[in-house]
Symmetry: C2
Protein backbone atom coordinates (compact mmCIF):
# COMPACT_ATOMS: atom_id res chain seq x y z
CA UNK A 1 0.00 0.00 0.00
CA UNK A 2 1.03 3.62 -0.46
CA UNK A 3 2.11 5.26 2.76
CA UNK A 4 3.20 8.78 3.63
CA UNK A 5 6.40 9.46 5.52
CA UNK A 6 6.68 12.06 8.28
CA UNK A 7 8.34 14.31 5.71
CA UNK A 8 5.21 14.04 3.61
CA UNK A 9 6.82 11.81 0.97
CA UNK A 10 4.62 9.13 -0.57
CA UNK A 11 6.07 5.69 -1.15
CA UNK A 12 4.79 2.19 -1.80
CA UNK A 13 5.45 -0.64 0.63
CA UNK A 14 4.61 -4.20 -0.49
CA UNK A 15 1.95 -6.00 1.52
CA UNK A 16 4.39 -8.83 2.24
CA UNK A 17 6.73 -6.34 3.92
CA UNK A 18 3.91 -4.89 6.03
CA UNK A 19 3.04 -8.41 7.09
CA UNK A 20 6.61 -9.17 8.17
CA UNK A 21 7.11 -6.01 10.28
CA UNK A 22 5.07 -7.35 13.23
CA UNK A 23 6.92 -10.68 12.98
CA UNK A 24 10.23 -8.82 13.32
CA UNK A 25 8.88 -6.81 16.23
CA UNK A 26 7.50 -9.91 17.93
CA UNK A 27 10.86 -11.68 17.70
CA UNK A 28 12.79 -8.58 18.78
CA UNK A 29 10.64 -8.20 21.90
CA UNK A 30 11.39 -11.83 22.80
CA UNK A 31 15.12 -11.08 22.33
CA UNK A 32 14.81 -7.92 24.40
CA UNK A 33 13.12 -9.84 27.20
CA UNK A 34 15.99 -12.33 27.08
CA UNK A 35 18.47 -9.47 27.55
CA UNK A 36 19.90 -9.53 24.01
CA UNK A 37 21.31 -6.12 23.03
CA UNK A 38 22.49 -6.62 19.44
CA UNK A 39 21.32 -8.80 16.59
CA UNK A 40 22.56 -9.13 13.01
CA UNK A 41 20.21 -9.19 10.04
CA UNK A 42 21.29 -12.79 9.44
CA UNK A 43 20.50 -13.89 13.00
CA UNK A 44 17.13 -12.17 13.02
CA UNK A 45 16.22 -13.44 9.54
CA UNK A 46 17.30 -17.02 10.28
CA UNK A 47 15.18 -17.13 13.44
CA UNK A 48 12.16 -16.26 11.26
CA UNK A 49 13.07 -18.64 8.43
CA UNK A 50 13.55 -15.88 5.85
CA UNK A 51 16.58 -14.57 3.94
CA UNK A 52 18.74 -11.81 5.45
CA UNK A 53 18.57 -9.93 2.14
CA UNK A 54 14.77 -9.96 2.43
CA UNK A 55 14.89 -8.53 5.94
CA UNK A 56 17.34 -5.78 4.92
CA UNK A 57 15.16 -4.99 1.92
CA UNK A 58 12.09 -4.68 4.20
CA UNK A 59 13.92 -2.42 6.64
CA UNK A 60 15.28 -0.31 3.79
CA UNK A 61 11.78 1.14 3.20
CA UNK A 62 11.98 2.73 6.63
CA UNK A 63 15.58 3.91 6.64
CA UNK A 64 17.48 0.68 7.27
CA UNK A 65 18.00 1.00 11.06
CA UNK A 66 21.76 0.26 11.01
CA UNK A 67 24.97 0.97 9.15
CA UNK A 68 26.23 -1.65 6.67
CA UNK A 69 28.01 -4.48 8.46
CA UNK A 70 26.81 -3.38 11.92
CA UNK A 71 24.22 -5.27 13.99
CA UNK A 72 20.86 -3.81 14.96
CA UNK A 73 20.55 -2.40 18.47
CA UNK A 74 17.53 -4.21 19.90
CA UNK A 75 16.58 -1.42 22.32
CA UNK A 76 16.45 1.11 19.48
CA UNK A 77 14.86 -1.12 16.88
CA UNK A 78 11.90 -2.16 19.08
CA UNK A 79 10.50 1.37 19.60
CA UNK A 80 11.28 2.30 15.97
CA UNK A 81 9.21 -0.63 14.71
CA UNK A 82 6.47 0.09 17.26
CA UNK A 83 6.17 3.60 15.88
CA UNK A 84 6.14 2.41 12.27
CA UNK A 85 3.56 -0.27 12.95
CA UNK A 86 1.61 2.35 14.84
CA UNK A 87 1.21 0.68 18.22
CA UNK A 88 2.82 3.61 20.05
CA UNK A 89 -0.58 5.35 19.96
CA UNK A 90 -3.42 3.20 21.38
CA UNK A 91 -6.12 2.12 18.94
CA UNK A 92 -9.18 1.12 20.97
CA UNK A 93 -11.39 -1.64 19.60
CA UNK A 94 -14.71 -3.35 20.15
CA UNK A 95 -15.39 -7.07 19.91
CA UNK A 96 -18.61 -8.17 18.25
CA UNK A 97 -19.52 -11.72 19.26
CA UNK A 98 -18.83 -12.90 22.80
CA UNK A 99 -18.58 -16.63 22.11
CA UNK A 100 -15.47 -18.58 23.07
CA UNK A 101 -13.27 -16.83 20.51
CA UNK A 102 -14.56 -13.35 21.36
CA UNK A 103 -14.01 -14.07 25.04
CA UNK A 104 -10.53 -15.46 24.37
CA UNK A 105 -9.58 -12.26 22.54
CA UNK A 106 -11.11 -10.07 25.25
CA UNK A 107 -9.15 -12.03 27.84
CA UNK A 108 -5.85 -11.59 26.06
CA UNK A 109 -4.11 -9.00 28.23
CA UNK A 110 -1.24 -8.54 25.77
CA UNK A 111 -3.47 -6.77 23.25
CA UNK A 112 -4.04 -3.96 25.71
CA UNK A 113 -0.31 -3.75 26.44
CA UNK A 114 0.36 -3.68 22.70
CA UNK A 115 -1.89 -0.68 22.17
CA UNK A 116 -5.29 -2.26 21.51
CA UNK A 117 -7.53 -1.72 24.55
CA UNK A 118 -10.94 -3.40 24.33
CA UNK A 119 -13.61 -0.75 24.94
CA UNK A 120 -16.68 -2.93 24.56
CA UNK A 121 -17.93 -6.43 23.84
CA UNK A 122 -21.30 -7.09 22.23
CA UNK A 123 -23.49 -10.13 21.68
CA UNK A 124 -27.05 -10.94 20.67
CA UNK A 125 -27.32 -13.76 23.22
CA UNK A 126 -29.16 -12.50 26.34
CA UNK A 127 -27.47 -15.23 28.42
CA UNK A 128 -24.08 -13.63 27.75
CA UNK A 129 -25.18 -10.00 28.18
CA UNK A 130 -24.15 -8.64 31.58
CA UNK A 131 -21.24 -11.04 32.08
CA UNK A 132 -17.90 -9.33 32.56
CA UNK A 133 -14.54 -10.11 30.98
CA UNK A 134 -11.60 -8.41 32.66
CA UNK A 135 -14.06 -5.86 34.01
CA UNK A 136 -15.59 -5.15 30.60
CA UNK A 137 -19.31 -5.98 30.52
CA UNK A 138 -20.81 -7.86 27.56
CA UNK A 139 -23.47 -5.49 26.17
CA UNK A 140 -26.52 -6.25 24.02
CA UNK A 141 -25.75 -5.92 20.33
CA UNK A 142 -28.59 -3.39 20.01
CA UNK A 143 -26.34 -0.92 21.85
CA UNK A 144 -23.39 -1.49 19.51
CA UNK A 145 -24.03 1.38 17.11
CA UNK A 146 -24.59 4.11 19.70
CA UNK A 147 -21.58 2.90 21.70
CA UNK A 148 -19.29 2.92 18.66
CA UNK A 149 -20.44 6.42 17.67
CA UNK A 150 -20.12 7.87 21.17
CA UNK A 151 -16.67 6.41 21.74
CA UNK A 152 -15.48 7.09 18.19
CA UNK A 153 -14.29 3.51 17.80
CA UNK A 154 -12.42 2.88 14.55
CA UNK A 155 -11.47 -0.81 14.90
CA UNK A 156 -13.76 -3.83 15.35
CA UNK A 157 -13.07 -7.52 15.92
CA UNK A 158 -15.66 -9.74 14.25
CA UNK A 159 -16.30 -13.16 15.79
CA UNK A 160 -19.94 -13.45 14.70
CA UNK A 161 -21.41 -16.31 12.62
CA UNK A 162 -20.79 -16.24 8.87
CA UNK A 163 -24.39 -15.34 8.02
CA UNK A 164 -24.34 -12.27 10.29
CA UNK A 165 -20.94 -10.81 9.53
CA UNK A 166 -21.72 -8.60 6.51
CA UNK A 167 -24.72 -6.95 8.18
CA UNK A 168 -22.73 -6.28 11.35
CA UNK A 169 -19.85 -4.85 9.30
CA UNK A 170 -22.22 -2.58 7.38
CA UNK A 171 -23.66 -1.18 10.60
CA UNK A 172 -20.21 -0.60 12.06
CA UNK A 173 -18.95 1.17 8.94
CA UNK A 174 -21.95 3.49 9.08
CA UNK A 175 -20.80 4.40 12.61
CA UNK A 176 -17.23 5.19 11.58
CA UNK A 177 -15.37 1.88 11.87
CA UNK A 178 -12.57 1.74 9.27
CA UNK A 179 -10.69 -1.42 10.28
CA UNK A 180 -11.96 -4.98 10.76
CA UNK A 181 -10.20 -7.95 12.27
CA UNK A 182 -12.39 -10.65 10.80
CA UNK A 183 -12.40 -14.14 12.32
CA UNK A 184 -15.51 -15.29 10.45
CA UNK A 185 -14.41 -17.74 7.75
CA UNK A 186 -15.88 -15.65 4.93
CA UNK A 187 -14.99 -12.48 3.05
CA UNK A 188 -16.76 -9.21 3.80
CA UNK A 189 -17.38 -6.50 1.21
CA UNK A 190 -16.00 -3.09 2.12
CA UNK A 191 -15.10 0.06 0.18
CA UNK A 192 -11.43 0.83 -0.55
CA UNK A 193 -11.29 3.22 2.40
CA UNK A 194 -11.77 0.38 4.89
CA UNK A 195 -9.16 -2.20 5.87
CA UNK A 196 -9.99 -5.84 6.53
CA UNK A 197 -7.63 -8.35 8.04
CA UNK A 198 -9.02 -11.84 7.61
CA UNK A 199 -7.76 -14.17 10.29
CA UNK A 200 -8.20 -17.66 8.93
CA UNK A 201 -7.13 -19.96 11.72
CA UNK A 202 -7.43 -22.97 9.42
CA UNK A 203 -4.69 -21.53 7.20
CA UNK A 204 -2.14 -21.83 9.99
CA UNK A 205 -3.25 -25.35 10.70
CA UNK A 206 -2.90 -26.32 7.05
CA UNK A 207 0.66 -24.95 6.86
CA UNK A 208 1.48 -27.07 9.87
CA UNK A 209 -0.16 -30.10 8.30
CA UNK A 210 1.78 -29.66 5.06
CA UNK A 211 5.08 -29.63 6.91
CA UNK A 212 4.29 -32.27 9.49
CA UNK A 213 3.22 -34.79 6.88
CA UNK A 214 6.48 -34.20 4.96
CA UNK A 215 8.83 -34.60 7.89
CA UNK A 216 10.56 -37.58 6.40
CA UNK A 217 8.61 -39.77 8.80
CA UNK A 218 5.86 -40.11 6.23
CA UNK A 219 5.32 -43.68 7.33
CA UNK A 220 3.42 -42.15 10.24
CA UNK A 221 0.73 -41.11 7.81
CA UNK A 222 -0.14 -44.06 5.62
CA UNK B 1 11.70 -26.97 3.17
CA UNK B 2 12.75 -29.98 1.11
CA UNK B 3 9.86 -32.15 0.08
CA UNK B 4 9.63 -35.41 -1.82
CA UNK B 5 7.34 -35.86 -4.81
CA UNK B 6 5.26 -38.97 -5.41
CA UNK B 7 7.89 -39.98 -7.96
CA UNK B 8 10.46 -39.86 -5.17
CA UNK B 9 12.13 -36.68 -6.46
CA UNK B 10 13.41 -34.26 -3.83
CA UNK B 11 12.86 -30.55 -4.34
CA UNK B 12 12.92 -27.40 -2.24
CA UNK B 13 9.80 -25.29 -1.75
CA UNK B 14 10.21 -21.86 -0.11
CA UNK B 15 8.43 -21.35 3.18
CA UNK B 16 6.57 -18.36 1.75
CA UNK B 17 5.07 -20.62 -0.94
CA UNK B 18 3.99 -23.21 1.63
CA UNK B 19 2.34 -20.43 3.59
CA UNK B 20 0.40 -19.21 0.56
CA UNK B 21 -0.96 -22.62 -0.51
CA UNK B 22 -3.67 -22.67 2.21
CA UNK B 23 -4.58 -19.07 1.34
CA UNK B 24 -5.15 -20.13 -2.26
CA UNK B 25 -7.18 -23.13 -1.14
CA UNK B 26 -9.23 -21.03 1.28
CA UNK B 27 -10.11 -18.55 -1.46
CA UNK B 28 -10.81 -21.29 -4.01
CA UNK B 29 -13.24 -23.01 -1.64
CA UNK B 30 -15.11 -19.71 -1.22
CA UNK B 31 -15.25 -19.41 -5.03
CA UNK B 32 -16.41 -23.01 -5.34
CA UNK B 33 -19.17 -22.41 -2.81
CA UNK B 34 -20.23 -19.37 -4.86
CA UNK B 35 -20.53 -21.59 -7.95
CA UNK B 36 -17.48 -20.22 -9.78
CA UNK B 37 -16.05 -22.79 -12.21
CA UNK B 38 -12.99 -21.06 -13.69
CA UNK B 39 -10.57 -18.49 -12.35
CA UNK B 40 -7.49 -16.90 -13.95
CA UNK B 41 -4.20 -16.55 -12.10
CA UNK B 42 -4.68 -12.78 -12.21
CA UNK B 43 -8.17 -12.93 -10.64
CA UNK B 44 -7.08 -15.32 -7.92
CA UNK B 45 -3.89 -13.38 -7.19
CA UNK B 46 -5.65 -10.00 -7.12
CA UNK B 47 -8.23 -11.28 -4.64
CA UNK B 48 -5.35 -12.18 -2.33
CA UNK B 49 -3.40 -8.96 -2.92
CA UNK B 50 -0.41 -10.69 -4.48
CA UNK B 51 1.08 -10.69 -8.01
CA UNK B 52 -0.15 -13.17 -10.61
CA UNK B 53 3.48 -14.03 -11.43
CA UNK B 54 3.99 -14.96 -7.77
CA UNK B 55 0.97 -17.25 -7.81
CA UNK B 56 2.06 -18.96 -11.04
CA UNK B 57 5.55 -19.36 -9.59
CA UNK B 58 4.10 -20.99 -6.45
CA UNK B 59 1.92 -23.37 -8.47
CA UNK B 60 4.85 -24.22 -10.74
CA UNK B 61 6.47 -26.21 -7.91
CA UNK B 62 3.56 -28.62 -8.07
CA UNK B 63 3.08 -28.88 -11.82
CA UNK B 64 1.31 -25.61 -12.63
CA UNK B 65 -2.32 -26.85 -12.69
CA UNK B 66 -3.23 -25.28 -16.07
CA UNK B 67 -1.97 -24.67 -19.58
CA UNK B 68 -0.48 -21.26 -20.40
CA UNK B 69 -3.19 -18.71 -21.04
CA UNK B 70 -5.97 -20.97 -19.72
CA UNK B 71 -7.84 -20.38 -16.46
CA UNK B 72 -7.73 -22.80 -13.53
CA UNK B 73 -10.67 -25.17 -13.15
CA UNK B 74 -11.83 -24.58 -9.58
CA UNK B 75 -13.29 -28.07 -9.11
CA UNK B 76 -9.97 -29.66 -10.09
CA UNK B 77 -7.69 -27.22 -8.30
CA UNK B 78 -9.42 -27.57 -4.90
CA UNK B 79 -8.79 -31.33 -4.49
CA UNK B 80 -5.29 -30.99 -5.99
CA UNK B 81 -4.34 -28.38 -3.38
CA UNK B 82 -6.03 -30.40 -0.64
CA UNK B 83 -3.85 -33.35 -1.53
CA UNK B 84 -0.67 -31.24 -1.65
CA UNK B 85 -1.42 -29.54 1.65
CA UNK B 86 -2.20 -32.95 3.04
CA UNK B 87 -5.72 -32.44 4.33
CA UNK B 88 -7.10 -35.30 2.24
CA UNK B 89 -5.91 -37.68 4.97
CA UNK B 90 -7.17 -36.75 8.45
CA UNK B 91 -4.54 -35.69 10.98
CA UNK B 92 -6.08 -36.02 14.45
CA UNK B 93 -4.96 -33.58 17.14
CA UNK B 94 -5.20 -32.93 20.84
CA UNK B 95 -5.70 -29.55 22.49
CA UNK B 96 -3.72 -28.80 25.64
CA UNK B 97 -5.32 -25.99 27.62
CA UNK B 98 -9.12 -25.72 27.79
CA UNK B 99 -9.37 -21.98 28.47
CA UNK B 100 -11.38 -19.73 26.19
CA UNK B 101 -9.00 -20.13 23.27
CA UNK B 102 -8.72 -23.89 23.65
CA UNK B 103 -12.50 -24.14 23.83
CA UNK B 104 -12.90 -21.84 20.82
CA UNK B 105 -10.60 -24.09 18.78
CA UNK B 106 -12.36 -27.25 20.00
CA UNK B 107 -15.69 -25.69 19.01
CA UNK B 108 -14.56 -24.84 15.52
CA UNK B 109 -16.38 -27.45 13.44
CA UNK B 110 -14.52 -26.52 10.25
CA UNK B 111 -11.24 -27.98 11.53
CA UNK B 112 -12.83 -31.41 11.62
CA UNK B 113 -14.24 -30.94 8.12
CA UNK B 114 -10.79 -29.83 6.94
CA UNK B 115 -9.16 -32.99 8.19
CA UNK B 116 -8.18 -32.14 11.76
CA UNK B 117 -10.46 -34.01 14.16
CA UNK B 118 -9.96 -33.16 17.85
CA UNK B 119 -9.37 -36.43 19.72
CA UNK B 120 -8.88 -35.01 23.20
CA UNK B 121 -8.77 -31.82 25.28
CA UNK B 122 -6.69 -31.56 28.44
CA UNK B 123 -6.43 -29.07 31.29
CA UNK B 124 -4.92 -28.87 34.77
CA UNK B 125 -7.95 -27.00 36.16
CA UNK B 126 -10.25 -29.49 37.97
CA UNK B 127 -13.20 -27.13 37.42
CA UNK B 128 -12.89 -27.65 33.66
CA UNK B 129 -12.23 -31.40 33.75
CA UNK B 130 -15.34 -33.37 32.85
CA UNK B 131 -16.99 -30.59 30.83
CA UNK B 132 -17.73 -31.54 27.24
CA UNK B 133 -17.10 -29.59 24.04
CA UNK B 134 -18.93 -30.97 21.01
CA UNK B 135 -19.09 -34.29 22.83
CA UNK B 136 -15.38 -34.37 23.63
CA UNK B 137 -14.72 -34.43 27.38
CA UNK B 138 -12.04 -32.21 28.93
CA UNK B 139 -9.62 -34.64 30.61
CA UNK B 140 -7.13 -34.06 33.41
CA UNK B 141 -3.70 -33.14 32.09
CA UNK B 142 -2.22 -36.08 34.03
CA UNK B 143 -3.86 -38.37 31.46
CA UNK B 144 -2.36 -36.49 28.50
CA UNK B 145 0.71 -38.65 27.96
CA UNK B 146 -0.99 -42.03 28.11
CA UNK B 147 -3.79 -40.76 25.84
CA UNK B 148 -1.36 -39.41 23.25
CA UNK B 149 0.62 -42.66 23.23
CA UNK B 150 -2.44 -44.91 23.01
CA UNK B 151 -4.03 -42.91 20.22
CA UNK B 152 -0.74 -42.29 18.40
CA UNK B 153 -1.46 -38.56 18.21
CA UNK B 154 1.10 -36.62 16.15
CA UNK B 155 -0.28 -33.06 16.33
CA UNK B 156 -0.96 -30.91 19.41
CA UNK B 157 -2.50 -27.48 19.86
CA UNK B 158 -0.89 -25.55 22.71
CA UNK B 159 -3.02 -22.95 24.49
CA UNK B 160 -1.32 -23.20 27.87
CA UNK B 161 0.30 -20.31 29.78
CA UNK B 162 3.76 -19.18 28.66
CA UNK B 163 5.51 -20.61 31.71
CA UNK B 164 4.06 -24.10 31.12
CA UNK B 165 4.42 -24.47 27.38
CA UNK B 166 7.97 -25.85 27.09
CA UNK B 167 7.39 -28.55 29.70
CA UNK B 168 4.12 -29.60 28.07
CA UNK B 169 5.82 -29.68 24.65
CA UNK B 170 8.66 -31.82 26.01
CA UNK B 171 6.23 -34.36 27.43
CA UNK B 172 4.26 -34.50 24.19
CA UNK B 173 7.39 -34.98 22.07
CA UNK B 174 8.41 -37.88 24.30
CA UNK B 175 5.03 -39.45 23.43
CA UNK B 176 5.45 -39.07 19.68
CA UNK B 177 4.02 -35.63 18.87
CA UNK B 178 5.88 -34.13 15.89
CA UNK B 179 3.81 -31.03 15.13
CA UNK B 180 2.78 -28.15 17.39
CA UNK B 181 0.27 -25.38 16.75
CA UNK B 182 1.51 -22.97 19.39
CA UNK B 183 -0.76 -20.15 20.58
CA UNK B 184 1.39 -19.27 23.58
CA UNK B 185 3.16 -15.98 22.84
CA UNK B 186 6.63 -17.48 23.28
CA UNK B 187 8.97 -19.71 21.30
CA UNK B 188 9.40 -23.38 22.16
CA UNK B 189 12.61 -25.31 21.65
CA UNK B 190 12.25 -28.42 19.51
CA UNK B 191 14.64 -30.61 17.51
CA UNK B 192 14.77 -30.27 13.71
CA UNK B 193 12.51 -33.29 13.31
CA UNK B 194 9.56 -31.46 14.91
CA UNK B 195 7.49 -28.71 13.26
CA UNK B 196 6.18 -25.70 15.18
CA UNK B 197 3.67 -23.24 13.82
CA UNK B 198 3.56 -20.19 16.08
CA UNK B 199 0.21 -18.47 15.89
CA UNK B 200 0.81 -14.94 17.08
CA UNK B 201 -2.62 -13.34 17.10
CA UNK B 202 -1.08 -9.96 17.90
CA UNK B 203 0.79 -10.04 14.59
CA UNK B 204 -2.46 -9.94 12.64
CA UNK B 205 -3.72 -7.12 14.78
CA UNK B 206 -0.53 -5.12 14.20
CA UNK B 207 -0.77 -5.51 10.42
CA UNK B 208 -4.30 -4.17 10.65
CA UNK B 209 -3.17 -1.29 12.86
CA UNK B 210 -0.38 -0.35 10.44
CA UNK B 211 -2.81 -0.12 7.55
CA UNK B 212 -5.73 1.43 9.40
CA UNK B 213 -3.60 4.25 10.75
CA UNK B 214 -2.32 5.02 7.25
CA UNK B 215 -5.68 5.12 5.54
CA UNK B 216 -5.32 8.73 4.49
CA UNK B 217 -7.76 9.65 7.24
CA UNK B 218 -4.87 10.07 9.65
CA UNK B 219 -6.68 12.96 11.29
CA UNK B 220 -8.71 10.25 13.02
CA UNK B 221 -5.63 9.31 14.99
CA UNK B 222 -4.11 12.47 16.45
Amino acid sequence: MTIISKQGKKFRVPDATIHRLPLYLDKLILLQQAGVKEVSSRQLATSLDIKASQLRHDFHYFGGFSKPGRPYLVDLLVPALEEIIGIDVPLPMVIIGAGHLGQAIANYKNFERQGFPVLGIFDVDPRLVGLEIRGIPIRPQSEMESFVRENQVRLAVLTVPVQAVQEVANKLMACGVVGFWNFSPTDIKVPGTVIVRNERLAVGLMCLSFKTKRLGNLELFP
